[in-house]
């Protein structure tokens, strides 16, 4: 088991001068409290730096020393920074130091290349030769599993990648999980059995060639083994390309993750811009319709007045026309009466008319002589002409249609303005992010995905070619067995033994993997149940990537998880891995409670001591108050430090 004893840092980040954290010998939790910017993540990076020689910022590896050295120290001519970690492993005390100093001590270092690094590892006070240092460290705490011991709470989100398919980050984490669980020992054994089997077959061919009765088959076998070697070289080349491509893909994923939020905002911005274009086109169509409708619009303005005119003139015209009609009728009557008087007979019944009646009729004729005055005739003509002209001018109004179109346009304008405001907000949010670069990364990732698919198809084809050659080799090997002497029998037996061992390890990998998954699922579920506050969540289900899905009490999966719940699931996985891993060591957690609410955080604090024997928490007080830490951890809280601000570039570590 690995146990930290002391960490010394000098001029590293905000830690000016030499500062030390002592880790007590007993089991439990050490807490370092510090507000944002005081150096919590720097402390985590100090441990990472001394162990592996790099820092991690925003999820990616960095190695730029000029960014690490304390700026105050640099100003006063102290150009060197260092970290020393003292730890116990296997009963021995180790002291590991990394010192970065300028290549030219008289010159102020400005860039990474201005520095050189020294690296020492002592075991029980004796320096281990530099050639062995990396190997010893690799045995004590391999870098590939460091993510389970040195972790940034903000990066716990990465573990959701295990649930996602086709993610390179997920594949990388899976690899680390299997490594911490000890699976590489089996996979390496399987590879060795494969190599030894092939060597045995080559040996078999050589032995057969030395014997007259088997020389022909032996030569054939040798040719086939050589062919396999060539094909294997091609496969290795493809696998190398694949590995390189996967590495590139991982880098792109990490880069993209940094700007993941920005990318989705940029996509949203693109959608909004497209939507605005579509809305503006609709607006143009509506304006065109309004223009068409407005061609006779001047007439609509006259309609009311014309209506009034028609109404008023119409009445007078009607009176004049009635009068005119009456006059026409009177003329007819007058003519009939005058005829009757002249012949003194009724034109209808032809009876004689008496003189007394003629006088009356003459009187009547006199009365019928009433005519339209000239003025009235003129007026009648004027009004008739006016009416026909007004009817000509008056037209059907399209006012309602235009109003509807105007309303539509107003709606569009409101919508477009809302969208423009949203775009403005997005632009403010993504300010400083290289939009073009982010999009390029996204495109590169898509392209590399396609290339990986093609390459994997090529690898499968090449594997098939090798499998065909292997089939021929097996057949030739079998033939030799029936033909051969004692030496050939022995060669064949060797080949078969390696073949069986290869199959056995292959099966062992599958079975051990299943066994591990079951154990991880079981232990993670127990932890999850003690951490979650949601009674409907009954457990976790593991997938082939060791990704954990929450299962509800109705048996259904929880498909959408909040950042906080994601955090709880990741911590459950961490705890289960710690329990099942052969490797035991300290866990350093940076801001592990940032995403947790005030119900989950105390649960996690209480559970920490069962996750590992030595835990160092780097927290800010709002995330975990000293009172809560003491209440929940009690005797398991073994030491407390705080990061006190001296200035913006100077933090002092103080033991509480």
């Amino acid at each position: 088991m690995l146990k930290f004893k002391r960490l010394d840092i000098k001029n590293f980040g905000p830690f000016r001068g030499e500062q030390t954290i002592e880790f007590p010998n007993q089991q439990g939790v050490t807490i370092v409290y510090g507000q944002n910017g005081r150096g919590k993540t720097t402390l985590l990076n100090a441990v990472r730096y001394v162990l592996y020689g790099y820092f991690i910022t925003r999820g990616s590896k960095e190695l730029e020393f000029q960014k690490v050295i304390n700026t105050d120290a640099l100003e006063i001519g102290e150009y060197e920074f260092s970290v020393t970690l003292v730890f116990i492993y296997g009963g021995n005390e180790y002291e590991l130091s990394r010192v970065a100093k300028p290549k030219d001590s008289s010159k102020k270092p400005k860039i990474h290349n201005d520095y050189e690094q020294e690296f020492f590892l002592k075991r029980d006070g004796i320096i281990i030769p530099i050639s062995d240092t990396e190997r010893v460290l690799e045995q004590i705490m391999p870098e590939q599993v460091s993510r389970f011991f040195l972790f940034d709470g903000e990066l716990l989100q990465e573990y959701e990648e295990l649930v996602a398919k086709k993610s390179e980050t997920g594949r990388k984490i899976k690899e680390s999980i299997e490594r911490i669980l000890g699976l590489p020992l089996l996979t390496e054994s399987r590879t060795i059995m494969q190599i030894l089997k092939q060597q045995a077959q080559t040996q078999q061919a050589k032995t057969a060639q030395a014997n007259k009765s088997t020389v022909e088959v032996g030569t054939h076998l040798e040719n086939k083994t050589k062919e396999r070697e060539e094909q294997q070289k091609e496969l290795d080349r493809l696998l190398q390309d694949h590995k390189h491509m996967k590495k590139q893909k991982l880098q792109l994923e990490i880069e993209l993750k940094k700007n993941k939020n920005a990318l989705s905002l940029l996509d949203e911005k693109d959608q909004l811009e497209k939507s605005i274009d579509a809305e503006l086109k609709k607006q143009d169509i509506k304006y065109e319709k309004i223009r068409e409708s407005m061609i006779d619009s001047w007439r609509w303005l006259l309609n009311d007045k014309l209506e009034l005119l028609l109404d008023k003139g119409g009445k007078e015209l009607s009176q004049l026309r009635t009068k005119e009609a009456e006059r026409t009728i009177s003329e007819d009557i007058k003519r009939s009466l005058e005829e009757a008087i002249s012949i003194k007979k009724c034109p209808t019944c032809e009876q004689d008319i008496e003189n007394s009646l003629i006088e009356k009729l003459q009187q009547k004729i006199q009365n019928l002589n009433a005519k339209l005055t000239d003025e009235e005739i003129k007026r009648l003509k004027y009004l008739s002409s006016l009416q026909s002209k007004v009817k000509e001018i008056k037209t059907e109004t399209k006012r309602n249609i235009v109003f509807e179109l105007i309303n539509d346009i107003n709606d569009i304008l409101i919508d477009v303005n809302d969208k423009r405001d949203k775009i403005k907000e997005i632009k403010e949010l993504v300010e400083g992010i290289d939009e073009e670069k982010t999009r390029k990364i996204n495109n590169d990732l898509k392209n590399i995905d396609e290339d990986v698919i093609l390459l994997e198809e090529g690898i499968r084809n090449q594997e098939k070619v090798i499998a065909d050659v292997n089939y021929d080799i097996e057949k030739l090997s079998d033939r030799l067995k029936s033909l051969g002497n004692k030496d050939i029998q022995k060669d064949k037996c060797r080949t078969e033994l390696y073949e069986n061992l290869h199959k056995l390890f292959d099966k062992g990998i599958a079975e051990y993997r299943d066994e591990l998954k079951n154990r991880i699922q079981e232990d993670a579920t127990i932890l999850f149940q003690s951490l979650t506050t949601e009674p409907e969540y009954t457990g976790l289900r593991i997938n082939d990537n060791y990704g954990l899905t929450i299962v509800r009490n109705d048996g259904n999966d929880v498909l959408v998880r909040s950042a906080g719940i994601e955090h709880i699931v990741a911590l459950s996985l961490m705890g289960a891995l710690q329990k099942n891993a052969p490797f035991r060591g300290p866990i350093i957690m940076d801001s592990p409670f940032g995403r947790l609410d005030d119900e989950h955080a105390p649960n996690v604090v209480s559970t920490l001591p069962i996750m590992a024997k030595q835990i160092v928490l780097l927290v800010f007080k709002k995330e975990l108050t000293p009172a809560m830490a003491r209440e929940k951890l009690q005797t398991k809280l073994i030491s407390e430090y705080s990061l006190e601000r001296v200035s913006s570039s100077f933090t002092q570590l103080e033991k509480k």
Binding site: P184, L186, I195, K490, K503, E511
Partner: protein, 62 residues
């Protein structure tokens, strides 16, 4: 950094069920070698080759 006992137990179970012709002690020895030389493949191969040869030499061939 492996639980060598758990790994070996899994392999021996498979050997008993499916590969009775493979000597179980050979598996145990291979696992020990692998555990000791996990950082050095060529050395591990040499050691494994040696114990396999010892096993073959102990057998009779006609």
């Amino acid at each position: 950094m492996s639980d060598i006992n758990a790994l070996t137990k899994t392999l021996i179970k498979i050997q008993e069920d499916e590969f009775p012709e493979v000597p179980p002690n050979l598996i145990t020895e291979i696992m020990k070698i692998q555990d000791s030389y996990s950082q050095n493949r060529s050395e591990a191969m040499k050691k494994i080759g040696k114990i396999v040869e010892e096993h073959l030499n102990s057998k009779e061939f006609e």
